[in-house]
């Protein structure tokens, strides 16, 4: 027996962006422990922003140097390939923007442990307490988001999933206003999230039982030789699918989204609706394209049904919503469905795969940026009791505050996919990828892909209805007598809205540079 412990090789340079974020998170915890209360925030904010910006810079350096590895690093645990770097860049930009919004006063509770409505709560609020732990928690969540889509084996992916989710469960419960709703959201998210994690873990075990390994390369290899009808494999496949589809909020696993989006503090909602979605779609792609790529005859028809159901459920249920954040949650469900169209625009060794991948990544980028901007606008429309969530309160906003309402209307048109906004090109890219894949010889789904795209445009038309309804409220209705006030935005919020507006307009007019980025990132596909 050889007792010597071989030290694992870790490519620190390649993993630097992720390590920087985790390192800053740990430092943040130390700041919580040792820095005096009054100084904490002024340490946390620059620390958080600098680490995110630094991580982004490290990603850029890797891309510019062209040093994209062609094999998984860290003993085969993490795959830092083109798509990973692109997704990292997107997540880091999004989280940077969200931290600017979190930095805004008044979103978070003074003392989370105080019972809502109790004397303790009043006391904490009067004392001006605040939970500065928010910053390290966000950094941990972002770190998890970076690891989740880049992991190259199922166990690392599970770790990434949990590191991403646990801080988010907590953050959801920290809203300053309507605290019961917030705590309910946190509880629901935690319970359902724990369930889905269990599904994922159980699926991992089943797949391990089939393949004898959790590495994606190994699973891929096992599938190319083993029996594809092994029940343990099919069971593992479906359990893994449930776990991942839950995270992106695809129907029928979408029930948590509206409740959580509504209850969570809006900056956290923005982070979940953008960063988590990007990370989860990235992970979904990696599992289904890399590990289970040889099984596409089995999972693509199921994914077809899930995509169709998700689009339709999201679009139809959104119509009945009366709360702006719930409506945006259902809209996010519908968009998850559009993304799934892209996810299944692949088969075997199709030449279209790189195009489909690039389309998905482009869609993720433009959709999530617009989402963050939309939620930033939501934080500004306030009632005495907090944000004015109910749609009827938005009536006549266009008369009271035409610029803000105009910007929000533009974001809504981008969600609806009207030409000359970034959302249109996102949708176009995904639809085009699906039709191109379906028309290629050898695609088992063939005409079904066209059917899915037609269903997609029908869902888009339905979705347009509820986006347009908000515009009708804002511009064509008379303002309520005691309408909401428009908060004077902090510099952070202004920056968030400006950045997302700029990208939504800019990409809407000239999408080519962003498409180039996505194409370049997707050209090598995933490391297998």
């Amino acid at each position: 027996m050889n007792d010597a412990v071989v030290a694992p090789t870790i490519e620190y340079g390649t993993l630097a962006p992720m390590l920087l974020v985790f390192g800053a998170a740990v430092v943040g915890v130390l700041v919580e422990a040792f820095a005096p209360r009054y100084m904490r925030k002024s340490i946390h904010v620059p620390l958080t922003l600098l680490s995110l910006a630094g991580a982004f810079a490290l990603v850029i350096v890797q891309v510019v140097k062209g040093a994209v590895p062609t094999a998984p690093v860290a003993m085969g645990a993490v795959a830092v390939d083109g798509p990973s770097l692109f997704i990292w860049g997107v997540i880091l930009v999004l989280s940077f923007v969200c931290v600017l919004m979190i930095n805004d006063e008044g979103h978070f509770v003074a003392s989370a442990a105080a019972v809502p409505g109790s004397a303790d709560e009043e006391e904490a609020e009067a004392a001006g307490g605040s939970h500065t732990e928010v910053y390290p928690l966000v950094l941990f969540a972002v770190g998890g988001m970076l690891l989740f889509p880049a992991s190259h084996d199922l166990l690392t992916m599970f770790v990434g999933l949990e590191v991403m989710s646990l801080p988010l469960y907590l953050l959801c419960g920290l809203a300053r206003r309507r605290r019961l709703l917030s705590q309910e959201a946190s509880m629901k998210y935690f319970l359902l999230g724990a369930f889905s994690s269990a599904f994922f873990l159980y699926g991992t075990a089943m797949i391990y039982g089939f393949a004898g390994t959790v590495s994606f390369t190994g699973i891929n290899k096992a599938l190319s030789t083993g029996s594809l009808l092994d029940p343990i494999l099919l069971l593992g496949l479906s359990l893994l699918g449930v776990g991942l589809l839950f995270k992106i909020g695809a129907a029928p696993f979408q029930a948590w989204k509206p409740d959580v989006y509504q209850g969570a503090p809006t900056p956290i909602t923005a982070l979940m609706a953008s960063g988590t979605l990007v990370a989860a779609v990235g992970a979904l792609l990696r599992v289904f394209w890399v590990a289970l790529g040889n099984l596409d005859w089995d999972w693509r028809p199921v994914m077809w049904a899930v995509a169709a159901l998700t689009m339709v459920v999201g679009a139809i249920l959104a119509i009945t919503q009366t709360d702006i954040k719930r409506m945006l949650a259902y809209s996010s469900i519908a968009h998850a469905g559009f993304l799934l169209i892209g996810v299944m625009a692949t088969f075997d060794k199709s030449a279209q795969n790189a195009k489909s991948l690039s389309a998905i990544m482009f869609y993720l980028l433009v959709y999530s940026i617009t989402t963050v901007g939309a939620f930033a606008v939501v934080t500004m429309v306030r009632d005495p009791g907090g944000e004015a969530g109910h749609l009827s309160r938005w009536a006549g906003l266009g008369k009271r505050s035409p610029i803000l309402a105009g910007i929000f209307a533009f974001f809504l048109l981008a969600f609806a996919g009207i030409p000359l906004t970034s959302g249109f090109f996102g949708k176009y890219a995904v639809f085009a990828a699906a039709l191109a894949s379906g028309s290629e010889a050898g695609d088992s789904l063939g005409g079904w892909m066209t059917g899915l795209v037609v269903l997609g445009v029908v869902a888009s038309a339905i979705a347009a209805f509820f986006y347009v309804r908000v515009i009708v409220l804002m511009f064509f209705s008379d303002p309520a007598a005691d309408g909401p006030s428009i908060a004077v935005p902090s510099m952070g919020t202004v920056a968030v809205i400006a950045i997302s507006l700029l990208i939504t307009v800019g990409v809407g007019l000239f999408p080519q540079p962003m498409l180039d980025l996505a194409n370049q990132a997707a050209s090598g596909l995933f490391i297998r």
């Binding site: 176009y428 037609v454 999408p511």
Partner: protein, 519 residues
Amino acid sequence: MSPWLPILMAVPVLGAIVVALLPKGSDKLAKQATLLVSLVVLVLTLVMAVQFKTGGPRFQFQAVYDWIPSFGVKFGVGVDGIALVLIALSAVLVPIVVLASWHDADGTQSADGTLITPKRSVKTYFSLLLVLEAMMIGVFASTDIFLFYVFFEAMLIPMYFMIGSYGGAQRSYAAVKFLLYSLFGGLLMLVAVIALYVVAGKGTFMFPELVGVIQDPATQKWLFAGFFIAFAIKAPLWPVHTWLPDAAAQAPAGAAVLLVGVLDKVGTFGMLRFCLELFPDAAKAFTMPIVVLAVISIIYGAIVAIGQTDMKRLIAYTSISHFGFIVMGVFAMSQVSQSGAALYMVNHGFATGALFLAAGFLIARRGSPHIADYGGVQKVTPLLAGFFLIAGLAGLSLPGLSSFVSEFMVMIGTYTSSAFGSGALAVAAIVSALAVILAAVYILWMVQRTLNGPTAEPVKAFKDLNVREIVVLAPLIALIIGFGFFPKPLLDVINPTVTQTLVNVKVDNPAIAEKGAGQ
């Protein structure tokens, strides 16, 4: 590379930005600036139009720039004869609409002091109008199908806000209905556009390169359906016409003119250019069902128009009838019928524009669109009544007025079309001729109830047209009468394009045979 068309589109966009950025309280300046910009566009368009060579290549003033190479999309513009006359139509109508809408956003009160429309942002209205003008020019000028689609959908947004923010009592319902109908059709077209790109496999959306590429009849039929449904909703054809009366009745008169006069023409324009030339076999296969729908539109629109009590709704229904004629002319596929249809698109723009604006002036005086609220107008305001009458007569295609020429051409062209050698087209032409009688009923009955008879009490306080309103209506009436007697300049520009279309559709074309196999 000719800079004409990009300049024509850039001028109104820049104008819109300038108008939108004007400081608060400069309403009058905003109006004047908009008028100036639209007049500049008109002059530029006319200067460009006279340089158009009728015997030259099909697409002139072409300019093609790379836009999105990843998708194979180019910013490709260029005009053929039909696109040119439709751009000219838009350029003529916009300054007229600007003048006609001078006070639309100011807030109006009726004679007895009741508020009809509240005060709204003037500069927003006029900058939307200029954005719309740029997009109208763009949609007709696009030679890249993707670019066409972008304008086709994007132009809904300014019109949506013009109806929704500045329209009548039911404006938000009408605006949403308008947007959703058009958007739905447009999205189906998007699928067809993508599929065309994929199936053609040419890596381009440029129209000239895609003509005749799709050969498989089944594929043609599906793609044809995707395009046709979008255009049928836009045009609008029975049974997907229901949004138009609502939208046109609720829109302010000026916006209604552009909606019915120009935006809807995109539908018939698209049928003629894209449905026919890209998918000729499918177009021939579907001809009879579409002609039947067109005839239903003609008769149905006319009959329903007779029953309307609201002037603007009545005009909207007459337009549905007229669009039926245009669609019938397009799908009858003879030189005469298609030239007539293309000419009809222009003439209908002038005639309906004049009718909507004259009705708008009446409504602005009384505050009510209901025919029953009027009577004896001609005794009080002879000038307004006179213009209204001539516009109405153009609407019923009286000989000597421009719409007569085109309607006659469509009917005779359909009757004599040899494209299918069947008597069915002749029957369609004969049935559609009934609409001429119905048109006399709906127009003359409206004229009788509003202009003639005992003068209603509130009408007595009417003032006749002021100078601005005369300047609005006079050019339209002049064009209606002018092209009624002398349509040749328009036809000279339109005919070669129609010939080219028929060559691409591969229809036996007597006109080509006479001239010796085309141009």
